[in-house]
Amino acid sequence: MPRITVTVDGITYEEEVEPRLLLVHLLRDRLGKTGTPVGCDTGNCGACTVMLDGKSVKSCSVLAAQADECDVVTIEGLGRAGELHPMQQAFHAEHALQCGYCTPGMIMAAIDLLRDTPDPSDEAIREGLEGNLCRCTGYSNIVRAVRRGAREMSGETPAPATGGEVRTS
């Protein structure tokens, strides 16, 4: 059985994994990171999006074995010490969720978009989130929230944790 070393939200784990174990199941079932949901299980919906070495991936489409020696950040690793990440705060402020199931993936994809496009237009936000589906169809508020999150992450406020960092606990 492959033995992997993987850092998740700042903590390094050594795990023996069955080859067919998907990253999302490692996160949820082994490590208790249930903040990352399984949505469609076909690679379409993006609910399970996490950061793998700083880039967004759909964790249902990555084997745990492929994440060996990688750094993973989930929705649970974004905030620090009881404080929400600015993008999480923005989703809250703009009421950018209804059922909330797509929210973790939306937030990870939004933070990924801002790596290249720190001040995205509405169109860039919609394109950047094209791999994330909201079946409540609450897209307008999501776009507003990403805009707000981008403003708040743009440096006017003290630099908060971003998707590229990990919590050290």
Partner: protein, 307 residues
């Protein structure tokens, strides 16, 4: 769904990978090469494939990156779609590759999915096979016996089937640089943002003094393999690109009609884009609708590429 069980092998070198694949082929095992996994893992999860082992090439050194090699651009098989899109060499010298890659799936998938993986997977609904055909790319395969070149026209043999032999690995693709007199466009028709193409058209057009000197048209999802629209390519040769209006009338207008009533020979030629194709029928489209799309999208793509 959870995939069926398989063994996981991560070779440390390309040579080791070739030997593992050859041995597996000799013993009749159904092994699959894993690159980015963005096509393969969904197939495993849906239990549409039951390989006995995956050979993970994802970390092999030397198969990743884009190189300017004078008369062509070499794209390593493990270069991710995201890396292809970020490459200034690709954008400058093989812009058709960049145009099509930008339409592949979504950002998260493009971070993992690879250029070579999507070609070797050979899904006729994939965007890159038609581009490789239109550009007359050359595929480089490596096995324990050595390297072999496969022209794009011979690479795609059937639905999800390629000319790669058991034990062979696609290590990269040579994309010829076409000159400044060439224009390019990829036109894709989808139902939703991230969806596969219902039909796609990759067009490369060489213009000479206001005429189309040469047109190469690759069709996505118009048969079990990507196709060249050869009849339309021949019909376009020598036609003036200035005729008709650039945007053309709305799709669905009678073939060859321009708004002023004059016939547009470019539109007539593109009307033959589906000749010889055998488009699939599925829940998205019937064959006759796909043929219609091929004609309309070819006209748009040729117009844009020759503008």
């Amino acid at each position: 769904m959870i995939p069926a069980t398989f063994d996981y092998i991560r070779p440390a070198s390309l040579d080791e990978a070739c030997h593992v694949l050859r041995d597996a082929g000799d013993s009749g095992d159904d092994v699959k090469v894993l690159a980015g996994g963005q096509s393969l893992l969904p197939l495993l999860r849906l239990r549409l494939a039951y390989p006995s082992a995956l050979v993970d090439l994802g970390r092999l050194p030397g198969l990743r990156g884009v190189e300017d090699r004078g008369d062509h651009v070499f794209i390593g098989a493990l270069t991710t779609h995201d890396e292809v899109l970020r490459s200034p060499v690709v954008r400058e010298h093989v812009p058709l590759v960049a145009m099509a890659t930008a339409t592949v799936a979504d950002p998260a998938v493009r971070h993992r999915g690879t250029f070579g993986g999507s070609l070797a997977h050979a899904d006729p609904a994939g965007d890159l096979p038609a581009v490789a055909l239109a550009l007359d790319c050359v595929f480089i395969a490596r096995s324990a016996e050595g390297e072999r070149e496969i022209p794009a026209a011979e690479f795609f043999t059937d639905y999800l089937e390629t000319a790669l032999r058991p034990g062979e690995v696609l290590i990269g693709v040579r994309a010829p640089k076409l000159g400044a007199d060439w224009g390019f466009h990829y036109e894709k028709f989808t139902r939703t943002a991230q969806a596969w193409a219902i039909v796609g058209v990759a067009a490369a057009v060489r213009s000479e003094g206001g005429d189309i000197a040469e047109a190469r048209i690759g069709l996505t999802n118009m048969g079990p393999t990507p196709l060249r629209a050869q009849v339309a390519e021949e019909a376009l040769r020598g036609l003036g690109v200035a005729h008709g209006n650039g945007g053309g009338p709305a799709p669905g207008s009678a073939p060859g009609s321009a708004p002023d009533g004059a016939r547009d020979p470019v539109r007539d030629a593109c009307g033959q884009a589906a000749e010889g194709a055998s488009p699939p029928s599925d829940l998205h489209a019937r064959p006759d609708y796909r043929a219609h799309l091929a004609r309309v999208l070819t006209y748009r793509a040729v117009r844009a590429a020759s503008a």
